[in-house]
Amino acid sequence: MANELLQTPLFGVGLTLAVYALAQKLYLRTGKILLNPVAISIAAIILLLILCGIPYEVYAQGGRYVLFLLGPSVVALGVPLYRRRQEILARRAPILIGIFAGALTSIVVASGLAWLLGGSREVVLSLAPKSVTTPIAISIVEKIGGIAPLTAALVVLTGCQGAICGPEFCRWIGIRDPAAIGLAVGTASHGIGTARMLEIDRLGGAVAGLAIGLNGLVTAFLLPLLFYSFR
């Protein structure tokens, strides 16, 4: 009976929502940015699955319904873009050039470092699109020949890192303009970083949302070109 229920999407969806709700409560109660709800939820769910001996595939039957909502959410990022269109348009040059610089840096530094440290070809390729939002990163990595689920996980880890310390890091290195912080956090850590930016600053959040899409576009075009020319 219990095993049968595990085989339905109910388990994965229910577990994800319950753990996330608790993680969010913890985050709001303590106000500690280290306790990022996504990072805590992922760690807690993995721990639970391992302790109960439930394979990832069983969880994923429900998990993919939660992941499904990422699609319309990316479309919904058009709304903050539309609302902030004048401010964004006024800064179009720094925004576009900044994102392009960030996209190129991400590919070169992530895969370059992995290669220098002796990473296998698959790992190097899987790391290349790590700053790009999950759905785009997956389709890119399938094209160039990395491991798509590994990329998805590294993308999420990158997002948690940007959400946890992105805005603080930017201020620490002397970047104070909210739009520039949003641009940096959105370019480096896509949707999860953007979620944090939306909490802090409206313009910064909208710019971060724009950076998700544009970094995705630039990387989707740049990465296959770079890797095909190296072969």
Binding site: V38, I42, V75, G78, I97, V109, V156, G159
Partner: protein
């Protein structure tokens, strides 16, 4: 609210269709974001129709990444074998990208002002 969701899903569908038909490297949902912006600017979609659904989704944006992150457990073996390149490349590059992107934006903003306007 329901209308908003229907519009978002329809635009995603349209984006996916365009992406497939033209064999573009850009996924359908990103095209959908562009289409939504375009339709809002053209007045084909009114902001009141979509804002409620969009805000609901965006306020929980981070939640939708959780299942993809849990997928990392399948690769614990690979990560244990190649932890050094994976961990260093992942974390160092995020900081470098933020610094480069932020600095480039600040530098251009300071120099060119408002892009000649």
């Amino acid at each position: 609210m329901v209308r908003g969701f229907a519009i978002l899903l329809a635009l995603q569908f349209l984006g996916e269709t365009i992406s497939k038909k033209l064999a573009l490297p850009i996924p359908g949902n990103v095209l959908g974001m562009g289409l939504l912006l375009l339709f809002l600017l053209l007045g084909l979609v009114r902001i009141e129709w979509v804002e409620e659904a969009a805000e609901l989704l965006l306020s929980h944006l981070a939640l939708f990444f959780v299942p993809a992150g849990v997928g990392v457990m399948v690769y614990f073996g690979l990560i244990a074998r190649e932890w050094l390149p994976i961990v260093v490349a992942t974390f160092v590059s995020t900081f470098v990208v933020m610094a480069v992107t932020g600095w480039v934006a600040v530098r251009l903003e300071g120099k060119g002002g408002r892009d000649g306007e």
